[in-house]
Symmetry: C2
Subunit: 455 residues, 2 copies
């Protein structure tokens, strides 16, 4: 027998002072599943969601210091971009229309070899963070070099981030090799301790670019420090074939042998999976990050999302970097993921509008190990919220707000974004002006990239 | 031996008065193919393009009554939406997540049976025309009931349109059967004679919904009146199987026998084609309208565009209706067409950014039989132009304007649109305010549709 619940408001009946009350025409809280609340409000205090309740009731119960009325909007959990390389915004459009391994080896890696620096990563990541916030993203799972510069950029922009401590075999301007990368990554993590919006993951780049010893060390560190593992997995057929020739097994099997397959594992792409591999990921509770636009653009293929979800795997959504997308636009990935799932499975009923929103929020939170903190509009979670205005002519009529969001709205309709209760976008504009010199820095890097490409 | 060309400007050297000079940072004229002009200008007079030349030269040669400087923009031919059902904007989101034949038979046709009217079509088409113009579309190939109401809406909005004279076996609130539909269609065409921005096509709905006699009459009328034929073709496997069972042949073969396969034919969808069918369409110079989003959403499949283009078929782009897309956004179709072509063919180099723009402009013009009038920025053609601002933070840096347009820009970046030299969009807003009562009319139809769905 449970004891009776304590009353939610003081018995005096006086309205409770809170920071902010956000009332919306529609709320899609994601939990409970497939729910659309009409004329409800979210009570926010000290950066957290206090309650979700009918607006009329909320108006009586709370005395908010600020009240926001979203009369034509759908309020959703802030979107989670579960696989990105923020700094690569500087490489947007630098190498289009090439397959993954040529794209990496002929264009991206040489450009990085020449230009990588703290400053490159800071500028590119800041540009990416601003693009994501403006499009309703409130948390990102990032992997790139110079994680300290990336961490600073995400802090400055006010975007919640899990920053990867990258590990890759070859030396770059950032580090000498796996041990050096790990040492630098862990030192960066120590330096940012105490920043609640920044977390760190172990980020071995991919099975084809990291040797056994480093992968085994990643597995051990993940256990020891309780960290998520973020890696690229089975993105293309070619990398699997090369891996088979070199290691005598497919990449996922090597990760398994080295102890990396667990609920800590977040595998980006996972385009090419055999049935036993799907079973393995499901068994261990690993997450997959579906990157539909990037996978098409590099001609990698279409991940079998319908099958993955059926098998019980947590499927999140990611944009990948701007060099292979070329936008960090999670609303657009939501639409594409739904369309592709229907087209590829031949079943128009598969992956509906609510499934898109779930993948872009709660599943992303789970992939980051943050499902207790973010990913749905529930009491106790951080007030990471995105409001999309559905009143534009091109969104008329609105029969179903979830469908309108997934199939019809664009990031230009995002009108307000809060991270931990703090406004980041208001009236469709970023609250923080672009830092002086951002555009000039982007232009400078563009010129350098062009002149090195021409040589 | 050719005679020497006459001088382009009067020998007096005085600047020539013209209506408008539009100078742009970049111009993608589509003809010549794959060209990007920097710091060029388009001279416009009496609704037509007079010349395309370097801005410095244009400034000396012309004395424009209006000069437009697009310092951060790419100027492209107005986009051509080669397959749409404008009025279905009222059915946007009315029936999501269903396969084509169930979607039609259980939801769309019943809704139409109950609600179709002049007023429904006028309101829906006006909404669609405004959405398309706002997104950079300057010409549309429309098919729906009550073509007179559609024609009026397109004229009011100022969007160039080819309106289909629909033919379908079953009676609707618009007509009693094929003969009646044709008589009404031809009468509508007569009524609009003299409107240069409106043309008409013969629009048998689909082989599965039109009997032999009516199809044969369409073929005869097309020859007699020199009209294009606009139909749905091989959209789903199911409709082909049903047709085979009923008629003993695949739909395209029946169209061929009845004389409908020629350069007049514009076949929307064409998702499922055998190699001999591709050969047949190529041989006769028929056009295909690729509708990638709609085909995925209804789980119809992915049209083999790479193969079609290789075979020499003219492949245009269409949105289909808002009930199966759910946006009339040709920029988004350009992106999806490129991504899908790469993903489906396994070749990241196939269908590049220029190919997307060509499909959305010149190929569309050709599908409408208007390639001499629109579809490229060439002297003598109508001044149907769209300017896209590439200076937003989310479009930085800009290494290649064509790639930026196809892979990165959204319709929200469309800043100016001219149809026949007349401004329709300026500073990102439609020049014509929404007619009083448009929003209320949309709302009224939404309420009617909801109450009939609930019954």
């Amino acid at each position: 027998m449970n004891p009776p619940l304590p009353p939610q408001k003081p018995s005096s009946g006086l309205p409770q002072p809170i920071d902010r009350l956000i009332a919306a025409r529609w709320i899609l809280p994601v939990v409970p599943q497939d729910t659309c609340l009409e004329d409800h409000a979210v009570a926010v205090d000290q950066g957290r969601i206090l309650a979700v309740l009918p607006t009329r009731e909320a108006s009586a119960r709370y005395a908010p210091r600020e009240r926001v009325d979203l009369d034509h909007h759908v309020l959703i959990p802030g979107l989670v971009n579960a696989h990105a390389h923020g700094a690569m915004n500087l490489l947007r459009g630098h190498a289009d229309d090439l397959p993954l391994l040529r794209w990496l080896r002929e264009r991206i890696w040489p450009a990085e070899a020449e230009h990588l620096s703290e400053s490159f990563v800071h500028t590119g990541t800041l540009l990416a963070a601003r693009e994501m916030l403006r499009g309703g993203v409130t948390a990102v799972n990032d992997m790139y070099f110079f994680p300290e510069a990336a961490g600073r950029a995400y802090l400055e922009a006010g975007l919640r981030a899990t920053v990867g401590m990258i590990v890759i075999d070859f030396p770059t301007r950032y580090g000498a090799g796996p041990d050096d990368y790990l040492a630098r990554g862990l030192a960066t993590r120590d330096r940012f301790r105490g920043e609640p919006s920044l977390r760190f993951s172990l980020a071995p780049h991919a099975p084809y670019s990291v040797a056994d010893a480093a992968l085994a060390r990643v597995a051990a560190l993940a256990e020891e420090l309780d960290l998520p593992i973020h890696t690229h997995l089975h993105e293309t057929r070619d990398e699997i074939a090369e891996h088979l020739a070199l290691h005598g097994c497919r990449p996922l099997e090597r990760l398994r042998r080295l102890g990396l397959v667990s609920s800590r594992l977040t595998a980006a792409h996972a385009v090419h999976l055999e049935e036993t591999e799907i079973g393995l990921l499901a068994l261990h509770g690993a997450s997959v990050v579906h990157c539909p636009a990037s996978n098409l653009k590099l001609a990698s293929g279409i991940a079998p999302t319908t099958r993955l979800i059926e098998a019980g795997i947590n499927v999140a959504l990611g944009t990948d970097g701007a060099a292979s997308n070329n936008r960090l636009d999670l609303l657009s990935e939501m639409r594409l993921a739904a369309l592709l799932a229907k087209g590829a499975s031949g079943d128009a009923q598969s992956w509906n509008a609510h499934a898109s929103l779930r993948a872009a929020t709660l599943a992303g939170a789970r992939a980051l190990g943050l499902e207790a903190q973010i990913g749905s509009i529930e009491p106790g979670k951080a007030a990471d919220l995105t409001a999309v205005n559905l009143s534009a002519e091109e969104l008329m009529p609105c029969h179903d707000p979830a469908a309108q969001l997934a199939y019809c709205a664009g990031r230009e309709h995002v009108e307000a974004v809060w991270v931990g209760g703090e406004p980041r976008v208001w009236a469709g504009q970023l609250v923080a002006k672009a830092p002086a010199g951002l555009a000039a820095a982007v232009c400078m890097w563009q010129n350098r990239l062009v002149s090195s490409k021409d040589n």
